[in-house]
């Protein structure tokens, strides 16, 4: 749930990167943190195991000059992808304003992608949220590997709804698609916030995103 502080002229929004284990959620945040300028970011904090697997979440604040007269602060989180950490994923999802679903493009990871997406839908339902009502961007990651499914197959599996969500092909380790994904979800979240909060009719999202 977005929060507006008129005193400090700040809007706070929460974006969560979701997806199966080892799909590249943490790598996305690490790449953003490495590449974005110092004045746009806070420190990247990872609550991870000794093996560098996410245990609770990764967190990084990002600041942008996105809305006139306000500082926009995006609170960026990842969830742990491992199946056993479902309770933790539910905690991180609370108050979410936008989602990036990072899918592993490798053929043998398709069942895990589907399972993770179903888990996301279920966890949102449990907190009375609906994925249809939330801004969401798909990132099909690891496109540099040889055994990847074609994009249309990933669309068919994960993004096969009445209204298709934006999907980006990525290689998060190299930074490919990382900022495209980030900018897209940031814009969608802002458009939803403005539309719902100020009651302002925003032009077709595709025009703004173009």
């Amino acid at each position: 749930m977005a929060f507006v502080n008129y005193e400090s002229r700040e809007i706070q929004l929460k974006i969560v990167y979701y997806g199966p284990a080892l799909c590249g959620k943490t790598t996305n945040l690490q790449t953003i943190h490495r590449m974005v300028s110092d004045d746009s970011k806070g420190s990247l904090t990872s609550l991870a195991t000794a093996q560098d697997r996410t245990l609770f979440f990764d967190f990084m604040p990002l600041v942008a000059d996105a809305v006139e007269g306000f500082q926009t602060r995006f609170q960026m989180y990842t969830v742990p992808g491992q199946v056993m950490y479902n309770m933790t994923r539910r905690l991180v999802l609370r108050g979410v304003d936008g989602l990036v679903f990072v899918a592993d493009s490798q053929w043998d990871k398709m069942p895990e992608n589907v399972e993770s997406f179903k888990n996301l839908e279920e966890n949102l339902r449990l907190q009375s949220d609906d994925i249809e009502a939330l801004p969401c961007v798909f990132q099909y990651n690891k496109r540099d590997l040889s055994n990847v499914a074609p994009r249309h197959y990933l669309d068919f599996l994960l993004n096969n709804r009445r209204v298709r969500r934006p999907a980006v092909e990525g290689v998060a380790t190299e930074g490919r698609g990382v900022f495209e994904t980030l900018n897209m979800i940031a814009k969608l979240v802002l458009l939803k916030f403005i539309r719902e909060y100020s009651g302002k009719q925003v032009e077709d999202a595709r025009l703004v995103l173009a």
């Binding site: 749930m1 929060f3 507006v4 974005v36 609770f56 306000f70 609170q75 609370r94 108050g95 100020s198």
Partner: protein, 157 residues
């Protein structure tokens, strides 16, 4: 959905926090919601309030789940005690938390004693904020304008 605070709300919350710091001799305090958003803070020096809120909200949410496993409705507060600094995290309401950071010069009992009425006072401010947010959107005449043009984020940007 969104909720907002104006100058009056912020002043009320600051007054409550300053009074808490004064009475309990704690160093700093932060009020955050369950999403980890910072609603108010006083006294923090080098610490990042947003990181404190994110971690505090995570810790408290996990503690609530532990309480549920033990058949408790909730643990109303959590204390982490260090050798030089400690932190008390207590529920303001279902959706918000109060984090109080204190050093060795402050007494945990005293911090707990004053944190409780501070949380109650904060609850009444936040109840009003939420009730208002359910009824209205942005203040009349206010329009948020999205900046167009270059992407928000990029390498070196």
């Amino acid at each position: 959905m969104a909720y907002s605070m104006g100058s009056k709300d912020v002043r009320r919350m600051r007054r409550i926090l300053l009074e808490l710091l004064d009475r309990s001799e704690a160093d700093a305090c932060v009020v955050c919601d369950q999403a980890g958003h910072v609603l108010a803070e006083e006294g923090l020096e080098s610490q990042d309030p947003h990181l404190m809120s994110a971690l505090g909200a995570g810790v408290f949410a996990a503690t609530r789940e532990l309480a549920g496993l033990l058949g408790e409705n909730e643990f109303s507060s959590v204390v982490h005690q260090g050798t030089r600094r400690s932190i008390l995290i207590c529920a303001v309401d279902e959706q918000s938390l109060l984090l109080v950071i204190f050093g060795t010069s402050a007494n945990l009992g005293l911090v707990k004693l004053y944190a409780s009425p501070a949380a109650a006072a904060m609850r009444s401010v936040l109840d009003r904020v939420r009730a208002r947010s359910e009824e209205e959107t942005a203040p009349p005449g206010h329009t948020f304008v999205l900046r167009q043009g270059a992407p928000l984020f990029g390498a070196g940007k």
